[in-house]
């Protein structure tokens, strides 16, 4: 891969309180930022959905007792590469491999256990960094081919 491929062209950062009412704001903000890549309706839906999953996880799992800060960063790279990370400083995950299993959930209240499965299926790559007591950072990447294609 050439060096220019990884050049960061534009970025944004956002900090929110972990209130569930902010879920729609967070995904809409990231989608609005991604819109400059001229994504297809389908690509935009996939980004919005993956971000919604990551942010919801910070709110319901990261800070179960409410409330903490959620940081969202998004970047656009040369060649249409889009990257987002969503970070909380909450309880963290002890077993990441188990957490990423489809249908696995630690909450009984009607969680489908599909958040990570959806992020994996809708984005090209996902990376999870977490430590019990040290919070969780989920990084999502997707190449936007866009409407021009």
């Amino acid at each position: 891969m050439s060096k220019t491929k990884h050049t960061l062209l534009n970025q944004m950062k956002l900090e929110l309180d972990s209130h569930s009412v902010n879920e729609s704001f967070a995904r809409a903000a990231v989608a609005a930022f991604a819109a400059q890549l001229d994504p297809t309706v389908e690509e935009l839906t996939e980004i919005k959905t993956a971000v919604s999953e990551a942010v919801t996880n910070c709110i319901v799992h990261g800070y179960p007792a409410c409330c903490g800060k959620i940081t969202i960063w998004a970047g656009i790279y040369h060649g249409g590469q889009f990257r987002v990370w969503v970070k909380d400083r909450g309880v963290g995950i002890a077993d990441i491999a188990q957490a990423r299993q489809p249908l696995f959930t630690t909450l009984s209240e009607e969680r489908a256990g599909l958040g990570f499965a959806v992020m994996e299926s809708f984005m090209d790559r996902i990376k999870v960094r977490s430590k019990p007591g040290g919070g969780t950072t989920v990084t999502l990447e997707k190449e936007i081919r866009g409407r021009a294609q």
């Binding site: 009412v21 729609s24 919604s52 969680r111 599909l114 499965a117 299926s121």
Partner: protein, 113 residues
């Protein structure tokens, strides 16, 4: 109103609209379950025609209603799913528990810019 409930011919239909996420799912669950408790319908049809966005919280909502219906042998149907919504429902293997139907393509184009 993010949900409109209709009961006719032994079928309770919930016309869902707007965005379904963890925040909005709680209200929808309350509305639908109140009607389920009152009517014990043989069939619940969740109509996603007016849904503009959903994440896996909507899958949790559907799974939860399926479990509720099982308590009195009710059946479940989920209709007018967008392609992304259909993909998410299938990730949970819902197609083996309920009838899933996608939105007609010509109907889809209308809502896309």
């Amino acid at each position: 109103m993010p949900v409109e409930l209709r009961y006719e011919k032994c079928c309770l239909t919930a016309l869902l609209s707007g965005e379904i996420d963890h925040h909005s799912a709680a209200f929808l669950r309350g509305e639908i379950d109140a009607a389920l408790a009152r009517l014990h319908p043989p069939l619940l049809c969740l109509d996603f025609d007016g849904v503009t966005f959903m994440d896996s919280s909507a899958v949790g909502l559907v799974m939860g209603r399926y479990k509720y219906l099982r308590g009195f042998d009710g059946a479940l149907e989920v209709v007018n799913l967008s392609p992304a919504a259909y993909r998410m429902m299938r990730l949970s293997n819902l197609q083996s528990l309920a009838k899933l139907a996608q939105k007609q393509p010509e109907k889809r184009e209308k809502v896309q810019p």
